[in-house]
């Protein structure tokens, strides 16, 4: 289980806990003081990452896709920030 935190410059804090198996994500959880509308989408974002291999751009794209699909707004952090903190937690 890897953990990492990122304070987004001019934004909010993101903490993550990531579990990997053979280089793929088998569980990920985000906590922090960011805003996401609608809030419940965080669980969809987390499950969308299941089975994904590590790679900042690909992970960011997956998260972005979920956000766009649900017309969601992330405030105080970006999809890339979420991807970055996963990469950090996976080291």
């Amino acid at each position: 289980m890897g953990k990492a935190s990122l304070k987004v410059s001019g934004g909010k804090m993101i903490n993550t806990k990531v579990e990997l198996r053979n280089g793929s994500i088998i569980s990920v959880q985000f906590t922090g003081d960011f805003f996401l509308h609608p809030e419940e989408l965080i669980e969809v974002i987390e499950s969308s990452l299941f089975g994904k291999r590590l790679g900042e751009d690909d992970l960011a794209q997956t998260i972005d896709h979920v956000l766009q699909e649900h017309n969601a707004q992330l405030i105080g952090a970006s999809a890339h920030d979420f991807a970055r903190v996963i990469m950090e937690a996976s080291q």
Binding site: S5, K7, S9, G11, K12, M13, N15, Q29, F30, T31, G32, D33, F34, F35, L36, H37, P38, E39, I42, Q73, I75, G76
Partner: protein, 247 residues
């Protein structure tokens, strides 16, 4: 439609949050847009929707001091709601009353608080994303959610500050402090009492004036239906471990 403004009341943490949800539901089915003011008894810590209670809150300290805990349905950070040290407000209205741009809507509602501060002789400004600052220090924190085409924004106006108590019940992360490049937490936060001679009642009156200015409003109360639903939510949601410790 006329705004209903509910005068200052005191609630426990679960009820305070349950009433916001009950009012949101009422607005969703055509009830009046609502502004409410409240205080917390016992004093409580609220955490944002995405926060972890165990990571943010010193639960042993809360037990020692009789401080309640609740998770909000809004994002944002951890707040210590001291019974004597703050006034909390909520604005619950159809989303269509406000800009689609979330920061613009924060700016609008926070502007009412800035106006109230101005009446008290305090020069403050909205600092995106969701703070109000005076002389570089935070004096109000705010959080918003939009669900079912209803906007809920609630926030706290710091009247008095017991920093020692505040930080005894919060787990303040090093990263956050160092990012703001301020070692001393007292330097980051202030309160009405430290920057003005206004009493808490004068602060509340100024908030009432500023929030109702230019609005068609009436002084109202909760409906029986809202109270019953809030009681149910307080019991089945906001006081449960399942909700409060979900993340």
């Amino acid at each position: 439609m006329k705004w209903r403004v509910i005068p200052l009341k005191t609630h426990d943490a679960a009820t305070a949050m349950a009433l916001d949800e009950a009012a949101s539901e009422a607005v969703r089915v055509g009830g009046p847009p609502t502004i409410r003011f409240y205080r917390w008894l016992p004093s409580a810590v609220s955490i944002g929707y995405f926060q972890s209670m165990e990571n943010e809150v010193d639960l042993d300290a809360c037990r020692r001091f009789g401080v309640d805990q609740v998770r909000r349905r809004t994002g944002g950070g951890t707040v210590y709601h001291d019974h004597d040290g703050e006034i909390t407000y909520s604005v619950i209205a159809p989303e269509s009353f406000f800009s689609k741009d979330i920061i613009a809507s924060y700016n609008l509602i926070c502007g009412w608080i800035v106006d109230a501060f101005s009446q008290l002789g305090i020069s403050a400004e909205f600092q995106p994303i969701n703070d109000i600052v005076t002389l570089g220090k935070k004096i109000s924190g705010n959080a918003q959610t939009r669900r079912g085409k209803v906007l809920l924004q609630h926030g706290t106006i710091l009247y008095d500050l017991d920093v020692k108590r505040m930080f005894s019940v919060l787990k303040v992360t090093e990263e956050k402090i160092s990012d703001k490049m301020i070692a001393d937490v007292e330097d980051r936060v202030t309160c009405v009492r430290r920057v003005s001679n206004a009493t808490r009642d004068e602060t509340y009156q100024a908030l009432w004036e500023a929030f109702t200015k230019d609005k068609d409003f009436y002084k109202g109360e909760w409906t029986e239906k809202e109270l019953a639903y809030a009681e149910e939510l307080a019991e089945t949601k906001y006081s449960t471990r399942e909700w409060n410790f979900q993340r």
